[in-house]
Symmetry: D2
Subunit: 292 residues, 4 copies
Amino acid sequence: MHSKRFYTLSASCPDRIGIIARVSGFIAEHKGWILESRYHADEGNGTGDDSGRYFMRIEVRADSLPFHLAEFRERFRPIAEELSMNWKISDSAVRKRVVIMVSKQEHCLYDLLARWQSKELDIEIPCIISNHDTFKGFVEWHGIPFLHVPVNPDNKQAAYAEVQRLFEEVKGETMVLARYMQIISPELCAKYAGQIINIHHSFLPSFVGARPYHQAYQRGVKLIGATCHYVTSELDQGPIIEQDVIRIDHSDSVDDMVRYGKDIEKAVLARGLRYHLEDRVLVHGNKTVVFR
Amino acid sequence: MHSKRFYTLSASCPDRIGIIARVSGFIAEHKGWILESRYHADEGNGTGDDSGRYFMRIEVRADSLPFHLAEFRERFRPIAEELSMNWKISDSAVRKRVVIMVSKQEHCLYDLLARWQSKELDIEIPCIISNHDTFKGFVEWHGIPFLHVPVNPDNKQAAYAEVQRLFEEVKGETMVLARYMQIISPELCAKYAGQIINIHHSFLPSFVGARPYHQAYQRGVKLIGATCHYVTSELDQGPIIEQDVIRIDHSDSVDDMVRYGKDIEKAVLARGLRYHLEDRVLVHGNKTVVFR
Amino acid sequence: MHSKRFYTLSASCPDRIGIIARVSGFIAEHKGWILESRYHADEGNGTGDDSGRYFMRIEVRADSLPFHLAEFRERFRPIAEELSMNWKISDSAVRKRVVIMVSKQEHCLYDLLARWQSKELDIEIPCIISNHDTFKGFVEWHGIPFLHVPVNPDNKQAAYAEVQRLFEEVKGETMVLARYMQIISPELCAKYAGQIINIHHSFLPSFVGARPYHQAYQRGVKLIGATCHYVTSELDQGPIIEQDVIRIDHSDSVDDMVRYGKDIEKAVLARGLRYHLEDRVLVHGNKTVVFR
Amino acid sequence: MHSKRFYTLSASCPDRIGIIARVSGFIAEHKGWILESRYHADEGNGTGDDSGRYFMRIEVRADSLPFHLAEFRERFRPIAEELSMNWKISDSAVRKRVVIMVSKQEHCLYDLLARWQSKELDIEIPCIISNHDTFKGFVEWHGIPFLHVPVNPDNKQAAYAEVQRLFEEVKGETMVLARYMQIISPELCAKYAGQIINIHHSFLPSFVGARPYHQAYQRGVKLIGATCHYVTSELDQGPIIEQDVIRIDHSDSVDDMVRYGKDIEKAVLARGLRYHLEDRVLVHGNKTVVFR
């Protein structure tokens, strides 16, 4: 968290000799001041040979460079091509656009709006979409448009088409399912891979699917948890961004678990979302590299 | 957390033989159904002789008893006197009256109101008092009176007299300092001993006083925390109700710590407040027994 | 943990009015001094009616009673029958007899013997049984008999018959699988239900069966854990006594996980075993009540 | 944790533009394969200008380089001088020499020897020194020389001179105070700054000095902890390497805390020692950078 404006380069490429030297050399050549940098080699077959993949995230002070982002992109492209990189670069001065999807549970919504209100979460929320109108007044009080898109067994396809239309219309970049409680259509999952973040109310892969606290109660586990993950078309199987747990015991009913769980859910969602928005999460197959 | 109405008896007395038998015998005699009960012997000198003190908390289903709370009190009094008890009994059907004091930080306020809105925290909030008007609109939107009582070096005595007057006027039972950031007057501390709950932004007794995150940064600790405690006239020295910590590392600035700290603060305050409101906290000298 | 000798009564029975009064009344009548007592009502259908089951654990100072354990049992029996109790009572002065089963991993074995050496774990270890002879010297140095019972696909039945014979011969009460890495025969599981404790190297129900750390690595979880449970004939499905987790990240290989996991495994096993030995664990169907 | 032999370069220097480029460029030029690398800018005054200090740790596969360690050092020296670096480089194939100091408590000793026995801790232990002879047999059984150096109020100077002589004689590099319970002489602290590691049985800076669990009991804290730190001449004030905590409650006596504390102490010491031995800890004033 730096007070100065900076650019964040995040990238992955096949591992080989000289990647850091190539990238940091380019930055140094232009007098770029590196604020923070993280690198990770996924060793693949574990022998350290070139079957692995390399990940990086670099923050460079904007005012240390003699050019702006567009020119950075232009000049960096040949290096990226040479290294066969997947890469992107973002500007800390440009707020990301996050659409929040909610249902009737309040905890994640209040938590996200508290962070947004204090600018801890320095994002644009162009709209909040819900299948219920429970939080219409609360959201609108914050000056954020509230869009009610009812979902029922008969209109799912139309409803998700409408969600997609709205997301495009407001130029959404990230969609957060803040206990949205509906299964997103495969079309949305595919179109916005790596852009839709869900909070699941169990410590995955335990208790996939519905009513995880009931499942946890039945099994008699001593800790319950929550998982923040990217949404894919396979339910609760997407790349995990963040998880945490809390201790329970025999005296806790399912209702108690639901209550404890809420505290974990909102904390895990907030952390996972933050990592995502700061380009700290790089997806690697069905896993993530998270440069906290 | 029970769905049925119940009475909660909480008490402490000198330890001796037969306390549980006496109290549970009384309840059984009237066909009282015990939902939950907890006992603790503080051994005092550790030898188990009668220098110790005994603590208990018992939930009895209201509809299992042939009389109401007033008569319970009347009939139980001789036993309490015989055992030299400090005791009280409360009715789950009567909402407790909690006055929240805030300043300009949002996280604990949003968190408490989210819990109140969903009835997870099933209390009356007759008013919220602040030395700033930052959250006037937000609080009033929830239908809760917002009272602005400015505090400055010159008017402290008058300001706290006003806070006391308001607390009395609204029949407040518990006062929560939700990052209120002002030192409460000794008069208030004394008058409402065991009724004022503070959240301190360090893992006490580390980093007493101002700017604990700066102190933590200077010392280079690897975990930071928060402490929920009863307010006494000695700053940050009151009986501790609940604490928790979160891991940090060398890459975290003071601003990062403040941000992580908020998540711990609101979680610890919410847990501590809940224990207090459910009569799970019994003060013993400068310590607490917490029947979670 | 009390310095004085005490008896521990642990029991469960159908829930009804007056259980605590009946039991604590009996103890008080004989001037028994209760050091610690815990009660739990499992509400069954959640309505608080008499479909539920009641659990208790009471420690009484031995020297406060006018009779010894045998007479306590005799006198308590009618009450237990009246309440349809499953119950037992143990004497803190009588060390429990624990047989440890190990294979080739050292961490749980060293950890248990360190606790035994310092009397933190105040038990008799009549022997340690292993399918390998790796730790023969180490165990014998501690003055504990080491019994090598090789197990291979062809001799399983004979091997477990031998284990059973040895366990009986040394009057074993509890069998601890301290990373024993072999699946115990259904006969042993059935014969010693609630007496065999295993440490599984995952946070169950995640990653049942073999190579849980590999499974965790594949799934990309952000925490790994361990589970201490009673062994039943269904693999990794027995009642859970204790669990814990530790944070990992993308930079941790399977080998790193194994290393972190060891620390969780030994801590969780030691806690779970302690609860068991102190009669703090009451089995309820496939779950446990743990009066920590 | 890599299976291949590698060199670990750890260094700090004044922050400026181009540090990573310079160092990684040198490595790439010689076809060095970077397995893992971590960088950290301590921002000093927080403005990101050049008052800060830069830290790094780089693992390079030994067999990827065309020269051995001595030549690496020779060739790297000019760069290090140009950047005004404090630096060192170590070889994963050379075991570090660790002298363990113990008193009469077993938990850290057993824990360290278990890790050493399994090669999880792949070090040389040339001797174990103690002010008591409690663990003579146990240590010698492991084939490690046990040296008894009694310490009493009258012989402290001579005793520490002897400890120093022995440490030098066995070519010790790191000294671990595994609950040694004696205050090391200022001479030793000064001579081996950054080489002596202690485990303190509290979450520093809480409860400095003697009997921290008694202090914790008196204050009524809800978590207790342990701190692994470098020893300096100021008692319990040295740079913190690692800390952790465990939850306790009102029912825990000082003896219970001691017992819980042991589990935290040994885990924290083992983690801190490992970070140190892998050159992951860089001291910065009275704080540490720990590249976990």
